[in-house]
Amino acid sequence: MYHPYFRGKQFDLLTIKETAPTLAWAGFTPIIEPVRGALSSLTRALDAVIENDGSAIIVVNPEHGEMSESGEPISKMLEETYLDSSEVSAGILLTAETSLTEALGCFNKHSQHTPVFIHSGFTNSKNLAQELGVLTKNNLHIFVDDSGVKLAAKHFKAASRVLLRDGFKRRKNKEYPFLEPFSDLHATYPDEGMDGFGDFLIVGDEYADGGGLPLVLAIHLTFIDSDQDDMMQIYHFKSKMHATQQDPAGKFAEALAVMMETLDSPDSKVYETDAVLEFRELFKKKHFPGLGYIKKLSMSHHIQTFAKYFGQGK
């Protein structure tokens, strides 16, 4: 069903580890693109997934980060540690630069790990489908939404198909509106002929590329809007505008105060998830836990919100 796509930085992996019970219970499958050379946090996250009888897809040929030149250590880890774990699949990323030969080579190499294809700008889908032969619902193909996605997906109708769409419109913190639509894909993916959906969560606005601190701090919080056909919307709670990068803690307190005011208004539709309860606790203690931690809470809340939305019918 839901496939959140993580670039495996420290707090992404922590989010997966800590929400592993929720992910498993709700039947969600995280996709993890490892971007750090050290794999210990990744194995801790995977172990938590397995312990909870969940499932995960690990990209074995990352496009970004320290493993972008060679994913060999990831393949080795799958081979050595997770060969017996049917919960862990190998994800094969197909970009515009991937050749058919590479794709098939990667597929054969990881045939023991129920390989999953992630189509992201790949232009050779037709030939790939031919090479793969007869497909069943046990074969999973994931499609990152772009202009060519419909054409690519039509070659894999017999397989299980998941559509990933980035609902998060990234910009400078000071430019975020208070509230905006996030995505309706969780409610519409069956109409698009898909068996599941996914997104890139809310990628938190911590350290910008240069590694600096933001002038304005923003906390992102998603909710399902029952008055808008269950569309998902996103709040951006911001601190005031500051002239310096100093005092992220003080800015956090400002942004958090805006969040509390919104949550406590009678018409708030935000689920009171564990993550929200933790934000309330931080507000009470006037404590700033660090930008990465805030991103983790926002991501956890996003997952918990979907779990609650889909779990209501269970």
């Binding site: 320290e66 030149e69 590694g211 002239a243 310096t244 990068q245 100093q246 005092d247 803690a249 003080g250 956090f252 307190a253 203690k285 006037k286 404590h287 700033f288």
Partner: protein, 296 residues
């Protein structure tokens, strides 16, 4: 002598960018290095046994010639003379790209006092200089502009009196055109507070016997600020020099610098490096150039 075209010069200049250096540090190799070095056309001047380190030295030599010099060359001249020449990593500390208000100082040196240097190479314009000098004059005792011959005349007549002026000559030597006047008694305490880290402010206060009350961390900055503003400019400056010499020290880089070609010292002092990056960097600069040119 073959001429050094602009595109080759630009490529040589980019060899010393933080992008190349970071890639070498993180991966022990750099595809950016191999493509940029090929663009410089300098390969032919090097022997078959040349290593990556030699390539950097050759590129640096070329950039040192007048007309080609960029900010990196000027900074290196300064660091060699002031930090590694007159002082050492033990007794002085270099602050690179140190943020003051909306500006970033090219280089500041802390020893017994504080001196900031703003580089205006022949490739730089002077548009932002007034604003930069204004900001640095609030935080550093002495302010210098380091400049190319081309800017000297204009600078002498337009800069505030207390700002000193240095020039770098053809032989890569620095000479003083005008001494800076020490203004450590007239600095701005709020500007100093806004330029340093909270834990540094805390240590400065504690050096002057002021202990910070225990408060939630979202309130720490405003509480510290309140206490800090009680210091006089002289105290705030003395505390800044004393504490930042320790917190920003590069002493742990001493061993690494010995292993790197001299042309990369400035890059090493400017980059955020983890301990495990050191060995990767050393092995990268010792790689045979022929092998490195195949880095993809």
């Amino acid at each position: 002598m073959r001429s050094f075209y602009q595109s080759q010069q630009a490529a040589a200049s980019k060899l010393f960018s933080s992008a190349v250096f970071q890639e070498l540090a993180r991966k022990g190799r750099s595809s950016l290095f191999s493509s940029l070095f090929a663009e410089t056309g300098l390969g032919t001047s090097l022997g078959k046994s040349a290593r990556v380190g030699d390539a950097f030295e050759e590129a640096f030599d070329r950039l040192c010639r007048e007309g080609s010099r960029d900010e990196y060359i000027y900074k290196t001249a300064l660091i060699r003379r002031v930090l590694l020449g007159r002082h050492s990593l033990k007794t002085a500390c270099a602050l690179n790209e140190f943020r003051v208000g909306e500006c970033k100082a090219d280089l500041a040196i802390l020893n017994g006092t504080s001196t900031v240097y703003e580089v205006k190479s022949e490739r730089d314009s002077l548009v932002r200089l007034d604003k930069q000098l204004g900001a640095y004059s609030l935080v550093f005792a002495s302010v210098y502009v380091v400049s190319a011959e081309t800017h000297l005349k204009k600078l002498v007549s337009s800069m505030p009196e207390h700002v000193g002026l240095l020039r770098v000559n053809n032989r890569f030597q620095i000479s003083i055109v005008r001494e800076a006047i020490d203004r450590s008694a007239d600095l701005s305490v709020p500007a100093i507070f806004d330029s340093i880290r909270l834990e540094e402010a805390q240590r400065i206060l504690s050096y002057f016997g002021v202990e910070t009350p225990v408060v939630p961390n979202t309130e720490l900055c405003s509480v510290l600020r309140e206490h800090f503003l009680v210091l006089n400019p002289h105290q705030a400056h003395e505390g800044m020099v004393r504490i930042l010499k320790d917190t920003r020290s590069h002493i742990r880089l001493s061993d690494l610098l010995r292993e790197l070609p001299r042309s990369l010292h400035t890059a090493a002092l400017s980059a955020p490096l983890r301990k495990l990056d050191h060995s990767r960097l050393i092995s990268a600069v010792n790689t045979d150039l022929q092998v490195a040119l195949g880095w993809r």
